[in-house]
Symmetry: C2
Subunit: 227 residues, 2 copies
């Protein structure tokens, strides 16, 4: 790749969420350079002069995981003068939702380790990254109610119990099983696959996929998603 100019007074940081074994996790690196050497931090980077802003976090995520086509949204932009000790840097924060099973981690130059950490067990972070992370988590939690983004955390096929588990984990609430199923199914955005899980030592669950066509069609008709 040709040498490209990096802009050095703004950066991007990514909060990458995944769901695994009943836990919501986020991806952190361990810094291998000063400042804040050895502390955990959000994966981030600079923006090239000839690169659209939103393309930068996508590139970073692709470099780390090989993944494309990732659900990603801006959280906000943070720019207190003292947020980075070396010089003035304003950072734009993004959050992403990925399927951990699809994810194969590559360690970058500025990191010695990389870990999926449950959001309830995040250690002390470098710089103001705790604040950035909290903002991202809050954005996720409020979006999940009004936009069917949660399917980005699940495999294509999932059971209603899987879905309820993710919702309960992300929103930190619990739902009544019968009410949850009624409500979700009545939205008509799930398609029954006709298939079932197998090889579990209890009754097998039906699996569903998210029906994006149906959802978009309903949006046209003024339908409002809400959980």
């Amino acid at each position: 790749m040709a040498e490209r100019t990096e802009i050095d007074n703004f950066s991007i940081d990514c909060v990458i969420f995944g769901y695994e074994k009943g836990e919501l996790k986020a991806l952190f690196i361990k810094r291998s350079t000063e400042p804040d050497f050895g502390k955990m931090a959000l994966p981030g980077g600079f923006v090239y002069l000839d690169e659209d802003l939103d393309a930068a976090p996508m590139r970073r995520l692709h470099e780390m995981s090989g993944l494309t086509d990732i659900y990603m949204k801006q959280v906000g932009t943070f720019g207190r003068t003292d947020r980075y000790p070396i010089r003035r840097v304003v950072t734009v924060v993004y959050y992403a939702l990925v399927r951990i099973s699809d994810y194969s981690v590559t360690i970058g130059q500025d990191a010695s380790e990389i870990h999926w950490i449950p959001v309830t067990q995040v250690p002390e972070l470098a710089f103001d990254h705790r604040e950035l992370f909290d903002a991202a988590l809050q954005t996720l939690q409020s979006q999940v109610h009004i936009d069917p983004i949660i399917f980005n955390l699940l495999p294509d096929e999932f059971s209603l119990s899987d879905l309820q588990d993710v919702y309960e984990t992300v929103t930190m609430q619990t739902f009544d099983k019968r009410n949850f199923r009624r409500k979700i199914l009545r939205l008509n955005i799930l398609k029954y696959t006709g298939r079932k899980y197998s090889s579990v030592s209890h009754r097998v669950a039906r699996t569903y996929t998210f029906d994006k066509q149906a959802y978009n069609a309903m949006l046209q008709k003024g339908f409002m998603f809400s959980v």
Copy 2:
């Protein structure tokens, strides 16, 4: 004021909303410099090297209006490489809610005129400002349902009809008068002043104020605002 360094590759832009005579309006300047000389644009500016990011739009608004203590939130950050024709500039967009009657406009250096324009009659704008404006309006419209920010557009004392008018204008919906009043009053966030409008040629309306204490107290108890 001492000379301060401006950072030249990111900027802030403000979408300043006000409500007057049944219309939602926003403040635009007419550009008096190239590029896009003569086009209408959002008021904006650069950030000083030793200035917190969020302080910049506040300063800009203060310079233009003399106002302090303004409701203001980030909308998002826009950074396509081609958004500004001269060089690469990423811009952070804010929206503000003000009482037009409090507002006394001062024209800045980069503007020849400044106007309150109804949001339904916004003309062609400079650069990508139409996109920034649309994003701000959409943010306002979605926030208004879940956060009692609308009071920032009204004088301290207002009647229920005033309030309904603003809601109808901002959300572009209409509400049944009886249902609206019942719903708002049941929230217990309005305080009856005991006073009434006078000198109108019809029955006088009771006036209310927004009870911020009551609202905050309810928030503590897990109350969720919703209109």
